[in-house]
Symmetry: C2
Subunit: 341 residues, 2 copies
């Protein structure tokens, strides 16, 4: 065996608000011997994603929280280094939720949930981003809820990130106008010039509200909601009749209860009513049966560069907590990954 | 001619919050002579509905506001008393938006928007309630958005009213459990015993939140939203995975900005996300092409008593303002109508 111990990062305690380094702890554990049907993997890349903030809390959610002392959850691209399973050979690249670890034994009973990578010639890291859960989240939300039409306007926040950048490009492939919202000049320049959105608006600009209005002269037909907070307040008055709002994330709410002492619900409900808006929350697993359809449609476009994407790769598992904390503050630039081995 | 003048109630000024008698004024005007294609009607019944509160304000909405000094808008059942139009004869009962008046001349150019009553033998008042706009609003929201399934739980507020009572009965026709929310013991007794909802919950009871929870042991799959406010706060935590929330009214927000100094939006968005909730605002006119389908399906059920309903009839056009103010306070009991002639 190449690896008989694993380093792992566990949840040391639950954060009340913003997570800090003190909420994580690194441990080293022995790996079990392989029995029939097991495989052992060496982790290449760990994906860090906003949803992980939710798993650190024990509030009711769509998934169980990580227990205190438990390994932080996460999806990885790994290489099979030992196999007692006829379906997997040494050297196979696989996708699985090993968590924040550098190596793992996947027990026989769970091997059926391991996917072999399909990247159409694109780098293996794409399996965690543009061709992975974030890309699929964007695709499913647009295909089944947002349904952009030619000539419409689609707005999305975190537009330089793996979900937002895909949303905008899918909008444009449908003939719609893509308006991206991002934090800071550098990200906005990438959104408009690097990815090619029709407009990019900086939510850190003091005149964000009016800049967004100017960027959406015909209103907004699809707002792909992945942040909430002040961006929602700026987009809401722009929503057109029969607009659609897929909701897949609320990053701005993860660390705070809201925007203070003003009740923003009546204005939201009033817009929903008067503009006949469709709002639909979703988790990408709802559409899991369409994953191969997504790969077949989008994979070749990523491999040939029709769909562009950006990665932000941090070296070393031990740096995962700091990178994750930065993700919640918008410090990453592109899909955040940790290179583990 | 039977009537050559008309009394009409106009908007005297715009209310800042709760409307009072001072926001209305009664006038008498001469009716014009009939020219070719015109019809003259004597109003039998005026419908009073919560949406009229919105028309008194000049805030952006789905319809233009009533101008100050203009006749209050509203739908009526009228009798044709004179006709210069071959499609209408004296004695015909018609449905039209005459406004708050006791008589009107409908000009030739607008006669194509006049409907003859189809009540399947039920009283003419039903054309303004259970077989009119309120009944159709309930039906359309359930058929195209709520989509109740057998075994599911459907909750609705203002359950003794014309929309809510229909929502519950449509839920039961679909095999779902109907939970009605109403204000006060008398209305709740009518909802459970008179209409036959599976449960009725009094939103004025100090223990409303827990009573609603107890009445929905399997959660809520469809919440037909027509009030917002504290009822939403009680229903929201009950919403099941993939639940649907048709939004057709927000009575509790019409006179106030919200529930005070607590931001209720993050909790709402969090529920939408974690439970994959569908929220969809709508105005019944979106589905107008299905109106005859609605009448064909529901009309016979109203006529034979399968679908029950309740009317609250106030005598005299001059009493319309007071009755309307009471409607916004929940004082009416059943579909509120004014008997004009």
């Amino acid at each position: 065996m190449s690896t008989r111990t694993a380093r792992q990062i566990v949840l040391a305690s639950r954060p009340e608000a913003t997570p800090g380094p003190e909420h994580f702890r690194t441990e080293t554990v022995d790996l079990p011997e392989l029995t029939d049907g097991d495989i052992e993997v060496k982790v290449h890349y760990l994906s860090l994603d906003p949803y992980m903030r939710g798993r650190m809390s024990d509030a009711k959610s769509y998934a169980d929280p990580v227990p205190v002392g438990g390994v932080m959850e996460g999806e990885t691209v790994s290489e099979v280094v030992a196999s007692k399973n006829p379906d997997f050979a040494e050297g196979d690249l696989v996708l699985w939720r090993t968590g924040w670890v550098d190596a793992a034994v996947i027990p026989a009973a769970k091997v059926h949930t391991v996917r072999k990578l399909r990247t159409f010639g694109a780098p293996e890291t794409t399996a965690l981003g543009v061709l992975g859960m974030p890309g699929f989240t964007a695709w499913a939300g647009m295909k089944f809820i947002g349904k952009p039409q030619a000539g419409e306007t689609v707005a999305v926040a975190a537009a330089s990130g793996p979900v937002g950048s895909m949303v905008g490009q899918l909008a444009q492939l449908a003939g719609a106008r893509a308006v991206g919202i991002a934090g800071g000049e550098k990200k906005c320049a990438w959104v408009s010039d690097g990815i090619g959105f029709d407009a990019a608006v900086d939510h850190r600009d003091p005149d964000f509200y009016n800049n967004l209005k100017a960027a959406c002269p015909d209103g907004v037909d699809v707002y792909y909601e992945n942040v909430s907070g002040p961006v929602w307040d700026a987009v809401r008055p722009r929503l057109n009749l029969y607009s659609r709002v897929p909701v897949c994330g609320l990053v701005a709410n993860y660390n705070t209860g809201g925007l203070g002492d003003h009740d923003r619900l009546p204005a939201t409900m009033n817009t929903i009513l008067t503009q006949s808006v469709l709002v639909r929350g979703f988790i990408q697993t709802e559409f899991a049966e369409h994953y191969d359809e997504f790969l077949d449609e989008i994979g070749p476009k990523v491999a040939d560069g029709t769909i562009v994407h950006k990665e932000d790769i941090v070296e070393g598992l031990e740096n995962a907590p700091e990178a994750f904390i930065g993700l919640l503050e918008g410090k990453n630039f592109g899909k955040l990954l940790v290179k583990v081995n």
